[in-house]
Symmetry: C2
Subunit: 226 residues, 2 copies
DNA sequence: ATCCCTTGACTTGTATACAAGATTGTATTA
DNA sequence: TAATACAATCTTGTATACAAGTCAAGGGAT
């Protein structure tokens, strides 16, 4: 488990949740790994209570398995859930960008433009981490423009299953194409061109296709056998 | 708050979560009502811990608002969230029944047939509560047949916002038509007729349209002013 | 009467104590 | 040697104690 800096503004619970989630996505908490509420609590410098609440929540999202009085484990990567995440993203993103074409205000578009400009900036300096953050934020802003913020929160949780796979196959995605896609999405929204928007989203999602067979060969211990 | 019987098999946490959620859906915990962790804990006969964990979870789902050191309230019905729920259900249910047409096994279909038979049975005796339960179960089984169980769990949580509205407008839905719809969905799945399936789902969802204007006049104190 | 301050009874946030079950290593016994 | 009983030590589940902040009521001073 890697250290995560604690913000001043956040409660112990929020900090624990964020730290554990980030570690799961980054595979610093490995799939299948045994975890202990006490260990994590002392590592993070908080008590068991906020850690426990976070673990319960991640258990609900099928990211941690709890065996009472025995122990808790980071869930193995289950291709069943990964496929559900991919399915959900595809169905929702297409429906939502269509709605964003209808509803996006000038303010929404201004924010999206600022985001894309930053993506282009960080693309030049090859700052993959920043691009990753801006990528997530870009898609969130589209949901907000479409007045679907609650749905986005839910999408984010489900997507963690896919995010882990993405972490393992780090280099599968070409940042250049991603950033270009975002520019096309933005102009489609500006022009209220729903068909163009849906078309580019579909193409965009296909770029994230990863070779699960290869990952399974490289990291067999991380995957659930069915 | 109404009493909810505790099953032997469930933990205090599961019981608290189920009891509070049921009370929110049934409006026995009223929108806007002040709630106290201590009060609920003693009413349910458990300690603050499991109650607190449940409240945190419902807060994440935007069903309870927490003001630290001041108090917690059942969220007012916010038409923004109700509309997100309706949107989500429509987008997902249509995509999922299409997938169910592809993937449903004979076992899946057998279970659906049994469910529809029971719906017809309880329709004769006008048992609205049973129909409500079978309705939920019917849709869940379609998600399971389409291998989208995790997505269904998520859908269920979002739908609580709509379920509250449904509770208030109890009599708006004609059970007869609902049960008939389910029969048509089932035969569309059996025949792998995706277009027919999507068409009837769309028609089906329209039946749940409620007159929010009227509800707002009848229960103004339950609704969030924007 | 009005303003201000204090006090006490609430709230949620967090830490800790205890309960109950699972597991493992060890010692004892057949 | 092998099997079994037992104790120590884990685990999570639950209850409780304490911390810190909010708010309203009431008393006293102006």
């Amino acid at each position: 488990m890697k250290a995560v800096e604690r913000y001043n503004s956040e409660t112990a619970r929020e900090y624990a949740m964020r730290a554990i989630t980030e570690n799961i996505i980054s595979i610093d908490l490995e799939p299948g790994q045994l975890i202990s509420e006490n260990e994590i609590a002392s590592f993070l410098g908080v008590s068991r209570t906020p850690v426990r609440e976070s673990i319960q929540e991640l258990n609900k999202a099928a990211l941690i398995e709890i065996y009472p009085q025995r122990g808790s484990y980071v869930s193995l990567i289950d291709s069943k859930y990964v496929e559900e995440a991919v399915f959900l993203r595809k169905v929702l993103d297409i429906a939502v960008i269509e709605e964003a074409c209808n509803l996006a205000t000038e303010d929404d578009i201004a924010l999206l433009e600022e985001n894309v400009a930053l993506q282009e900036f960080y693309l030049k300096s090859n700052n993959t981490k920043k691009i990753f953050e801006l990528d997530n934020e870009f898609h969130r802003m589209i949901y907000v423009a479409a007045k679907k913020e609650m749905i986005h929160n839910m999408r984010k949780n489900v997507m963690i299953h896919f995010d882990r796979v993405r972490t393992l196959s780090m280099l599968a995605v070409k940042d250049t194409k991603i950033v270009a896609d975002h520019g096309i999405m933005l102009s489609a929204i500006k022009n209220k061109d729903k068909n163009k928007a849906k078309e580019i989203v579909e193409k965009h999602l296909d770029r994230y296709r990863v070779d699960q067979e290869e990952l399974l060969r490289t990291y067999p211990q991380y995957f659930a056998k069915e």
